[in-house]
C-alpha cells in the first residue's frame, strides 16, 4: 500500500536525495511522505525526487535540549520549491549569530544528518540538514 515508507525516505535522504510524493490527481507534492496526498487525500501518487531547494520560513535556537541532544543548535522550517514545509537543522550558521534578518527568507539546500539510536527510538534517526546559500 505504501509507495514510500519513512525508512525508504530516510535511506534516500542519507544518500543526498530528497524524495516525496507527487499526486496524479491534484498535482501537489507531499514531503515527508505519508499514505496519501497531503492536500487532497488521493492515494494515486508517485514517488519523485524533489529539487532539495527551499526558503527558510522560521527558526529557533534550542538552548535547553532534550535528553540525547547537545544545545545550542538551530531548528528551522523551510518551504520547498515544490510547496511542502520541511523541518530540519540549519548546519552552517553559528547559533549565537542566528537572527530573523539573516535567517528568514534565505535560500537553502537540503542535506541529511544521521542520529544514533537513542532511548525510545526504534532505530537511527535521519533529519534534514539545511545549508544556507552563500
Amino acid at each position: 500500500m505504501y509507495k514510500l515508507t519513512y525508512k525508504q525516505y530516510f535511506e534516500a535522504l542519507k544518500e543526498g536525495k530528497l524524495l516525496g510524493l507527487k499526486c496524479n490527481d491534484c498535482s501537489s507534492y507531499t514531503a515527508p511522505p505519508k499514505l496519501c496526498c497531503d492536500k487532497c487525500g488521493s492515494t494515486n501518487t508517485e514517488v519523485v525526487t524533489l529539487s532539495g531547494k527551499g526558503v527558510i520560513k522560521t527558526f529557533t535556537v534550542i538552548r535547553v535540549a532534550p535528553e540525547g541532544y547537545d544545545a545550542p543548535y538551530i531548528v528551522a522550517i523551510a518551504e520547498l520549491e515544490e510547496g511542502p514545509w520541511l523541518m530540519g537543522n540549519i548546519v552552517n550558521v553559528d547559533p549565537d549569530k542566528a537572527k530573523m534578518d539573516n535567517i528568514i527568507g534565505k535560500k537553502v539546500t537540503v542535506g541529511a544528518k544521521v542520529l544514533p539510536k537513542m532511548n525510545y527510538t526504534p532505530d537511527e534517526g535521519v533529519t534534514p540538514a539545511f545549508t544556507i546559500a552563500e
Binding site: A65, V75, E79, M87, L115
Partner: protein
C-alpha cells in the same frame, strides 16, 4: 441528546508534590464526588487524562488503579485518554458525549500528571514525544522550540518588530502571574514585571524562561451527569453547552501555523453546538503554554482579528475586568501545567467562575465560559463551552 451538567469539581494545588499520580487524582476526584453530594458507588465510569505517566512513574493502565483507589465498584468502566496536553479535555468531552447519549448517568472525568518527577532533559524529551517522532523530533525540536518558531513566524508575517512583540508577550506572562497570585491552588502565586521576563534566560530564541509555563505536578476532576440528576444534588449546576475537537498532522504539514486549522475547526464545532459566538464568551481558560501561544489562540478562537491580539494584550483587554477575561486562574503560566490534568483544571476554573466562587479573581457577571486545550503542536485541540 440529554442536557449535560457538571456537579462537583476537585483540584489539587499545582506544583511539586510527593504524592503519586494515582494519589493526586484520588484527592481531586474525592473532592469532586463529595461536592457533588454523591457516593463513589454512584459513579459508573472514570475517564482519566494522563500524558507522561509511563515515563514519570513507569505506570500505565492507571485509570483502573484510580477507580480502585477511590472505591469505585468492579463494574466501573475506567479508561485513560491520551492527547498530550489535551488529554483531560478529551476525557471530559467523551464523558459529555456518553452522558448525553444515555450510555452513563454519572461519570467522573479529569486528569493527573507528575512531570516534576522527571529531570529537565527527560521532561523536555517526553514533552517532545508529542511532536512527529519520525519526521520532526530528530531535529532536536522541543516544545519551547515549536512556539519560538511561531513567534518568529508571527513577527515576520504581521511585520511587528521582534522587540515590540516580545514586550507584548511578556505582558501575557505579567497578566497571568497577576491572576495566579490570587489563586491559592496556583504553582506560582507571585506577581512579576515585564523586566522579570526580559531578563530571564533564553530557552529557545526568542522565548525566555518566563515566556514558558513550568513543569508541574497536579490533578483535577469533575463529575458529569444529566441536568435532572444535577438539580437533585447541587445548587448551581453548570451546563456543558458545546464541545469541539480538531486534529492535524506534523507541524510542517500545517505550514503557516499562526492559523491552526485544527483549532479553528474545533472552536467552530463548539460555538455551533452551543449556539453562541466568540462575542458571547465572558471568560476563557486557554492554552498559554507559552506567551506567544496565548496571543495566537485569541485570534484562532475568533476573539480578535488575525495579527491584532498582541496589541489587545498591551491595551489590557484580556485582563479580569477587560473586554474578555483570559486565564483568570493564572493559566498554564502561573497556575502550572500538569499535562494530563490541564484541561480539567481549566474546566474547574470556569465552573468556579460561573458559580461566582473565585474571590479576588472573580470575573463579574460571568455567564458563559470557554476552555481551549492544545495537545502536541496543535495535533489535538479541544474546546468546551460552559454556561449557567
Amino acid at each position: 441528546m440529554r442536557k449535560v451538567a457538571i456537579m462537583g469539581v476537585g483540584m489539587t494545588k499545582f506544583g511539586p508534590t510527593e504524592k503519586s499520580q494515582v494519589e493526586l487524582f484520588a484527592e481531586a476526584a474525592m473532592d469532586a464526588i463529595n461536592t457533588s453530594n454523591i457516593k463513589p458507588k454512584n459513579v459508573q465510569a472514570l475517564f482519566l487524562g494522563n500524558g507522561l505517566g509511563d515515563f514519570a512513574e513507569g505506570q500505565v493502565n492507571m485509570a483502573s488503579f484510580c477507580a480502585n483507589e477511590i472505591g469505585l465498584p468492579p463494574e466501573t468502566t475506567a479508561m485513560r485518554f491520551e492527547g498530550a496536553c489535551a488529554s483531560a479535555s478529551i476525557a471530559i468531552k467523551n464523558a459529555f458525549l456518553l452522558v448525553a447519549s444515555g450510555a452513563y448517568d454519572i461519570v467522573i472525568a479529569g486528569g493527573t500528571e507528575r512531570a516534576l518527577a522527571l529531570s529537565t532533559s527527560m521532561a523536555t524529551r517526553t514533552f517532545a514525544m508529542a511532536t512527529d517522532s519520525k519526521y520532526e523530533e530528530f531535529s532536536g525540536l522541543t516544545f519551547p522550540g515549536v512556539f519560538a518558531m511561531l513567534a518568529h513566524l508571527y513577527a515576520d508575517k504581521y511585520n511587528i518588530p521582534l522587540p515590540k512583540l516580545k514586550e507584548r508577550m511578556a505582558m501575557v506572562a505579567v497578566k497571568n502571574h497577576k491572576n495566579g497570585a490570587k489563586n491559592p491552588k496556583a504553582q506560582f502565586q507571585k506577581e512579576i514585571t515585564v523586566e522579570t521576563v526580559l531578563k530571564s534566560f533564553v530557552v529557545a530564541d526568542p522565548l525566555q524562561l518566563f515566556d514558558c509555563c513550568p513543569f508541574s505536578d497536579g490533578a483535577a476532576a469533575i463529575v458529569i451527569t444529566t441536568d435532572e440528576i444535577a438539580k437533585k444534588h447541587v445548587e448551581k449546576p453548570v451546563y456543558i453547552l458545546g464541545t469541539g475537537q480538531g486534529s492535524a498532522g506534523s507541524l510542517g504539514r500545517q505550514k503557516d501555523y499562526t492559523i491552526m486549522p485544527s483549532r479553528i475547526a474545533s472552536a467552530k464545532q463548539a460555538y455551533k453546538m452551543a449556539g453562541v459566538g466568540p462575542k458571547d464568551i465572558n471568560v476563557a481558560e486557554v492554552h498559554d503554554c507559552f506567551t506567544i501561544a496565548e496571543i495566537v489562540l485569541l485570534e484562532n478562537l475568533g476573539f480578535y482579528d488575525f495579527g491584532t491580539a498582541s496589541e489587545a494584550v498591551e491595551k489590557g483587554e484580556t485582563e479580569i475586568g477587560g473586554k474578555i477575561a483570559i486565564n483568570p486562574s493564572g493559566g498554564l503560566k502561573a497556575k502550572g501545567h500538569p499535562v494530563g490534568a490541564t484541561g480539567a483544571a481549566q474546566v474547574y476554573e470556569i465552573v468556579k467562575q460561573l458559580r461566582g466562587e473565585c474571590g479576588a479573581r472573580q470575573v463579574e457577571n460571568a455567564r458563559i465560559g470557554m476552555t481551549d486545550t492544545l495537545g502536541g503542536d496543535a495535533g489535538t485541540i479541544v474546546n468546551l463551552i460552559l454556561g449557567i
